[in-house]
Amino acid sequence: MRRIRLLWAWLGTLFFAVVIIFPVYWGVRTSLVPNANLDLIPSSITFEHYRALLAAGFLNNVKNSLVVSLGTVQCTLPIALLAGYALARFDFPGKRYSVVLLALPLLPAIAVLVPLILYMRTLGLYNTLRSVILASTVFSLPYATWMIRGFLLSIPREIEEAALIDGCGPMRALFLIDIPLAAPGLIAVGIFSLISAWNNYLFSFAFTTKRTLQVVPAALLGFITAWGENYGGMNAAAVVAMLPVLIFFLTFQKWFIQGMLAGSSK
């Protein structure tokens, strides 16, 4: 009976491992061989698809993606930290409306984007990376604020109260006590926002028309419709898009998972 169970567990694990790894493996493989090659394990590899990407100016898209995702984290963290601190440590009229922050990420970004395009035009931000950073920040803020609020709530209030009695102001308490103690949580929020921003194509697609301003996923969407059967090229771009995410996720997975659970269960 025990043996049969163990067998099932192994079979199940094998099934999931194959179903998850094979598509990723096949994509990496396809990016490293000539398009006609269909070997499961190719005997030799080529970087021709990556060279073609470089020649098409893909490096520029990578740079844009870095600017946008780092910019998003840089704007999101301070704003979410201050707001999360207010929600975790103060009682004030109107506080109960903060649950709205949990509902906002459930609304379709793509719908609100239509008027936002006209908006960015009026603000003179259309066709700039700043508009992409701005929108990306706005859409990551509700979740980030809620997560930081949770992390600050898990710090015992007494530590901060002791400091307040000793004459430390609330802002100094935030910087000297809460931030160091909540550092792992802040890192989790940062990584979560970074990966979400890196993966996002929509804001870049909506606010920029020039190819030179597009982020990696937006450029990838262009390749899908433009390149048709060039699977090697498409997958090379896909590998560039997923490699940083995989490295980041595997390195910081504990914090990332914490972030996922913090936002969806409470």
Binding site: I79, F90, P170
Partner: protein, 299 residues
Amino acid sequence: MPLALRLRRLWRRAQGQALPYLLLSPLVVLLLAFLAFPFASLIYHSLRRTDLSGVSTFVGLGNAIILIREARFLQNLTATAIYLVGNLAISVPLAYFAAVLISSNRRGVGVLRTLFLIPWVLAPIVTAVLFKTLMNPSSGPITNLLKTLFGHPIYLTLTEAGSRALIILHSAWRSFPLEMLLIAAGMTSIPGELYEAAKVDGAGVWKQFRYITLPLTRTSLFSALLLISVYTIQDAEGVYALTQGGPGYATEVTGVRLFKEAFLYFNIGLASAIGLALIVLSIGVIILYLRILGEGERA
């Protein structure tokens, strides 16, 4: 008490009360300006028709009436419903199976959890490229596998039923990790004695699952269903990257239609009306799940 001291105290108290609002103000200003205001103007634009030169005229419910009378929009909603039901029917059983695997106390389950989460972490456009490559009609390994299995070629990307299956498989592959994570979190709160007692009473694996695991993970299951349903209803990028809504309008889900109207045809009025429909649909689904969950808890 001297007036100056009194004033200073009053000032300090006001400061203390104002501080949380001050801290919240950057967040609130940004959300009002870039979420609430666009949302309000979405309603405004949905009542108007804007042509390419930017001239906008009031048409009232004109856009809504166009959509209601249109066979294509009905097809969009049907495609969305099929997409949602198909996705849940495949991803939820997978998620339970995976959750059981990562909840056991064998060695190495931590690695499994990380591995199983990978589909969720990757961008939908990236995974769409991976799936497109697997199923491509000329050289995809899945296409070749199906050919060997059934003796004749089956092209998933070229037929209506095939494309529907393709987008459903893709989104189920992407959805099960989050469902698994939430369900597994629910499973950790089930006391082990329950299973011990069930085993003593002679309940098999299926009965244990049916009468212990399933009812006790109900809340986590519903939060997973809620999140995945909302994401699936709103999805545009995964489907657009895989099929562009084709062949015909077979896989043109509501999100893809919105994407096309807004970004390819620049039909702002109709796009806004579809956007509103999508918001109403999402809110409807949220209310439905919360209500079912609430009733279950009262019963």
